[in-house]
Symmetry: C2
Subunit: 404 residues, 2 copies
């Protein structure tokens, strides 16, 4: 029970805490300081970037952070891609009194992904959910369209998972990275790692998809659609046109969407502490509008989260997930391009990316002749074991990085 | 692949087909005709029924059907309770050219639950979802409130799972049933079977909960809330007050809710046939509003289903599920009351009532000293294996019924 509380607390730190509104905007540079637990949030800009669907974005900005030092050959880099509701804060602290990144247990000086040895990069995606948290730097529907001087809204072009990779590639180029010793990430980060392996096979030594899967199949396509459905039903959404002064954003729909993600990403034990308690003054057995404490608590957390986020960004982000590997005829065709070694990490109690889906990914990798192994990340948190419960995998990751 | 199609077809028959608008309303009678595959839908009425929360319903009607003949001792009865989106049509056909009930493979003359031997009863619940299908007989928010001459709407009292049992008990009393050789049902039917075992332990010989679980824990409380959230967000819901002439019912929200149930109740292989196909004229990589065929197909099925249903009934039904075993301090305290033998049937790929939850149920039964075994129902349909894939369990059920 103590462990549940601890992990739930860590999860809260990773998922629910909005960092203070301090945004560092130093220019990008390959000469980052030696590894330390304090990291700096930076911003990377592109002008005239053409997306995979042919649309050109006049300007584009994403945030990123690094740790460790790139070597002269530019081949000791590691890229960590973030999960659906995450951002670049995978490791380090922005200040001594602030919480660490979600994978800080496995990324840092002397840790499994050792920043004394590797130059580790993590960036915010396009259309990032945390657009209003004051630290995330992203470009999406909330951003200003320079052509109109107004928020893009749903005029923003559709972006795919592959687009995330293309922007990261240009970021890595700007930092002088020539090879990735490892590309990894949890959940949507795993999908990005797989897209990387297919898009730039010649520059990747190792791939570690964590709590992901090799396919967004019809069941997952529909789950992503279920996640976003509450937003489209909220009358304040107005087809995405809610940025004008005096209009309320669809925060109720967005909170309902974030609630689905929150519950789906956990497992039964993670919520057990609520029991079947009923808040004071509530009586669900007599009044339809009354609620159990378990519902109220998750609603409250989801609403707090919704206020840091944006409904249109949620819709664009689910679409980017639906478009995973959309340029390949099949997962097998995509994976056949890889030249890397693979470590697939899966949570047996994952309710989003099922264990079976991870076994399918492993089987496909083996079928196309890639060296690939499967490791399990366990704990009471279901899917989120792969976000906040990775510490026990440290030795396995270390061995994976040492193997050639 | 052929098997997937076949089971998907059966599932469609069980879940999506609205029977023709013919409602049989012959009076109840214990002297049903000898077992035959043709069954008749009947109606059972109560006046002045007091619910468990103390509210009295002035009138109440539910539909039911029977097969087989009750013996003189009244102790050869079997009660089959239906799933969330089901009704009494568990077995038999209403006419030779109409589809069979969802458990027809295991209920009928010579089958595992042998209607040559047992008197089998199945009834519609209160607040049933299929209130507009023309065959379901139920009482809920859509019903007329005799005190006002208008639809009850959200003035209808909250009902619990235990209330379903109390109405069924009065139905069984009216039919002359004194003992249940077996109480069973899939999913919400399993919850009803467990409520029965705790409420009337002295009259039950055997309990077979199928694809259920012994607890609506905080994770499930939230999932049920997620199921219904789209209804509350639909502006046409209006707090439940949408029955007046000229008002549109919240069919979009209800369809979104039914879509969640549909996808949740299946597993990846059940939808695999859609692949990542894109309907003609749609382009999800370029237009945010465009969709994949897998989404379109499930949306269409859910919308067809929504037109036969009612949004307020959905809200009341989820609440009844949340109130499962709400009169007991714990599942263990409820199960300790049982005097029956138990066969717990679970689907290893169930994404609603997890296999782990069924193992917990088995462990609790064994802890309180009940003879209990676990059987698996397998297939490509996840949760729905227990609705339309029960045929392979026939011998196991037969043996369970033969044991004393």
């Amino acid at each position: 029970m103590r462990l549940h509380w601890l992990l739930a607390g860590l999860m809260s730190a990773a998922l629910w805490t909005a960092p203070p509104a301090v945004r560092a905007q130093t220019p990008p540079s390959a000469a980052t300081p030696a590894a330390t637990e304090i990291v700096e949030k930076r911003s990377f800009e592109l002008a005239g970037h053409t997306l995979r669907n042919g649309t050109t974005l006049p300007t584009l900005r994403i945030g990123y952070q690094t740790a460790g030092t790139l070597n002269a050959a530019g081949d000791n880099a590691v890229l960590v891609a973030h999960f659906f509701s995450g951002n670049s804060h995978a490791f380090g602290r922005y200040a001594a009194d602030q919480p660490p990144g979600y994978w800080d247990a496995i990324v840092g000086p002397g840790r499994a992904i050792d920043t004394n040895r590797y130059f580790v990069v993590s960036s915010d995606t396009l259309v990032n959910l945390n657009v209003r948290d004051g630290r995330t730097v992203t470009t999406g529907p909330v951003s200003m369209n320079p052509a109109t001087g107004r928020h893009w809204g749903t005029d923003f072009p559709v972006v795919s998972m592959r687009d995330f990779i293309e922007v990261q590639k240009k970021l890595l180029d700007s930092l002088g990275v020539r090879r990735l010793a490892l590309v990894t990430g949890p959940s949507m980060g795993a999908l990005q790692a797989i897209e990387w392996a297919a898009a730039y096979p010649e520059m990747i030594d190792r791939v570690m998809p964590v709590i992901g899967g090799g396919e967004i199949d019809p069941w997952m396509l529909n789950w992503l659609d279920i996640w976003e459905a509450p937003i489209r039903l909220d009358p304040n959404w107005r087809g995405g046109d809610y940025y004008a002064q005096g209009r309320e954003p669809p925060v109720a729909g967005l909170a309902a969407a974030l609630k689905i993600v929150t519950v789906h990403a956990q497992d039964r034990p993670a919520l057990a502490r609520f029991g079947r308690a009923i808040p004071d003054g509530q009586d669900p057995a007599r009044r339809l509008a009354d609620r159990f404490e378990a519902e109220r608590a998750i609603d409250e957390a989801a609403m707090a989260r919704a206020r840091m986020s944006d409904a249109n960004h949620f819709l664009y982000l689910t679409r980017a997930n639906q478009l995973f590997l959309n340029e390949y005829p099949s997962t097998e065709a995509a994976l056949a391009r890889s030249r890397a070694r693979w470590l697939v990490v899966a949570s047996p109690t994952d309710r989003v990316f099922l264990m079976e889906a991870n076994r399918d990914l492993l089987a496909t990798l083996q079928r196309v002749g890639r060296p690939a192994e499967l490791a399990e990340v366990t704990g009471p948190l279901g899917h989120l074991n792969g976000v906040v419960g990775m510490a026990p995998l440290a030795e396995r990751i270390r061995a994976f990085l040492a193997a050639n």
